[in-house]
Symmetry: C2
Subunit: 350 residues, 2 copies
């Protein structure tokens, strides 16, 4: 029998950050697709849309008026999944029916007053303002005694459940640590206790040596397709310095993060020459007052598209009941993203 | 402050089967929706479609001819994510880059020769033939020394990534136990070791006493919306007798399972008066030769729709980075499913 070749043979990969597995089936990338096709969204939007509840000066739900903001703008989500005032209490029946009251805060962050922009169409200075807002929000919310975890994220594109194309993200901050960062805490802590270094420092070192999965880098951050990536073009943005949260970044590092986000999202848009949908978000230490030296700041990008602007990857049957599965290898995806230009296709067309 | 009320206040619920959490935001069910709308699929299909690669007598990929089958039909997936012949081997770099060759078998199961049917439109005897095929397949594949887990599932509807409307399911059987059943093994084993009974026996007892989340039942099976349901209309089909796998079912129990699947899927179709999409699958003991007395046969139904035929729940940003979140409570969903008729809306129209 031939020897095992990860570019050809089915295999499982271990996600060192969560302790879970993904099935990789490289031989399967050529199967035909006759299923659901996504409809690409119309790309031409006005700079200001009088019906958009996020545009400056417009009225939101409940009659609240947005200010005439000129850079970023943050407000409490009018339909937040979490609310600060929840009576404490819960349910416990034999350890089988267990519930606990949960309190928190949901906010919306507008990235720009311009209705027609997205991150890749903004300049580094403007993205830097978004980064600064993340820093301020993480700091403010994290300091509250009733908030032990702050999740900052963006859903981009209708296919990712985003209900308004105005460039914006969200923050859900809450009393308890959600499942995914809790898993990452367990894995990072075990590694840190054993090696005295953060898991992502050592992982990054390997990736920078091997180069295969690195997509782009600057002095302070690296973007790579993680070895254990689940989504076809999933990426991980890792801080070179093992900082625990975004507040610890220097001025220079914040600008470097903005620079990398811009270049990464431009490459994403260029991949299929559309405004590329994804969910993305920062993972950083819980704000429970502990130091968490095991934590290493990073950002995940989870884009659903697989093969073109209209064919997405479905995480369904086997994935829901078994574990995630992917066809193209992370190395192949990294290679594709690496070779894309960093000039946005829209400006290149002009 | 008022006392905690799980029908009103945000809370987390613990999934006793996986050990993970879901965030429930009952106050949020009334938020407006302006995002992506699904296009309901055309419902009229011919009984035989000459272009369908699953219809009897038609040619599949690679020129293989389907037999003129008259009830169910199973064949090896022409584009399987798993293949039986994979050289053993793997990668391990510092515990951070870990991969293992994975072998297995992927099969497709046609539920009926009729291109225009779905489970809820088949009679109990025909569904019983599907159950019998599941039994035979689990038995055959599970007996192989190279197969330690058999996942039987169905993706129904384009929105669930199903690429062909001909009624069919799949089997992915493999060397290792995937993440989700592995989590369920851990939780069920811990419970069994402590209490000497299966987790689902005791859970079922509570649910049958409380009645709130029970949707329908017969002598041998119960369908309920689990206390920890993630998807809006998620259900769990539980065997009353704590059997470890489907092979242990008596003749009568197999028919009872078919009966319940028919009645459940009819209710699903009646909910929004469309062919209701979902991913569903059996969870049963690993076929690793161990007895697994902790395992309790059950089936999960994960439907994506939330509010209507066109509005689905998106498991995106917060859900991918934090943990799943739902708006309507499991109790509300159970109530809705419970009050639906068991005559299919299409036959009622006639
Ligand atoms: O095998 P199919 O029907 O072509 O594909 C579908 O089910 C598989 C198993 O759940 C998934 O991996 C695919 O993403 C999905 O499109
Ligand atoms: O808050 P939005 O944008 O209305 O809603 C979107 O993001 C949320 C957080 O990821 C999800 O819970 C919703 O399912 C999704 O539609």
């Amino acid at each position: 029998m031939a020897t095992f070749d990860s570019t050809e043979h089915a295999h499982r990969r271990f996600n060192a950050l969560t302790g879970e597995w993904v099935l990789v089936s490289p031989h399967r990338s050529k199967r035909p697709w006759q299923g659901q096709q996504e409809t690409p969204e119309p790309e031409v939007r006005p700079a200001y849309d009088p019906t958009c509840y996020l545009c400056p000066g417009n009225t939101r739900a409940g009659g609240i008026l947005n200010p005439e903001y000129t850079s970023t703008f943050v407000f409490e989500n009018d339909f937040g999944a979490l609310q600060p005032e929840v009576p404490t209490g819960g349910i416990d029946e034999g350890g089988l029916l267990r519930a606990e009251a949960e309190s928190g805060v949901c906010r919306v962050i507008c990235f720009s007053p311009r209705h027609d922009l997205t991150l890749p169409e903004m300049d580094t200075a403007a993205i830097r303002e978004v980064v600064d807002l993340w820093v301020a929000q993480y700091q403010e919310l994290g300091a509250r005694p009733d908030i032990n975890y702050v999740q900052i994220f963006e859903n981009k594109g209708q296919v990712m459940g985003c209900s308004n194309p105005h460039p914006h993200g969200q923050i859900w901050a809450q009393r308890t640590v959600p499942t995914e960062p809790a898993k990452e805490t367990v894995q990072q802590l075990a590694y840190f206790e054993k090696h005295g270094r953060t898991l992502l420092s050592d992982y990054l070192e390997i990736e920078l040596r091997e180069k295969q999965r690195v997509v782009l880098e600057n002095e302070h951050f690296v973007v790579l397709v993680p070895f254990w990536a689940v989504w076809p073009f999933e990426t991980l943005v890792v801080a070179r310095r093992p900082v625990q949260d975004i507040v610890q970044l220097t001025e220079e590092e914040r600008t470097a993060l903005a620079d990398l986000l811009r270049r990464l999202t431009i490459r994403y848009d260029n991949l299929f020459q559309i405004s590329f949908p994804y969910s993305a978000g920062l993972h950083q230490r819980p704000t429970d007052g502990e130091e968490h030296p095991e934590w290493h700041l990073h950002m995940h990008f989870y884009p659903p598209l697989l093969r073109s602007a209209t064919v997405r990857k479905f995480m369904v049957g086997y994935e829901m009941l078994g574990n995630p599965q992917r066809d193209i290898t992370p190395e192949f995806s990294a290679e594709r993203l690496r070779t894309l230009p960093e000039v946005h296709y829209k400006s290149a067309e002009q």
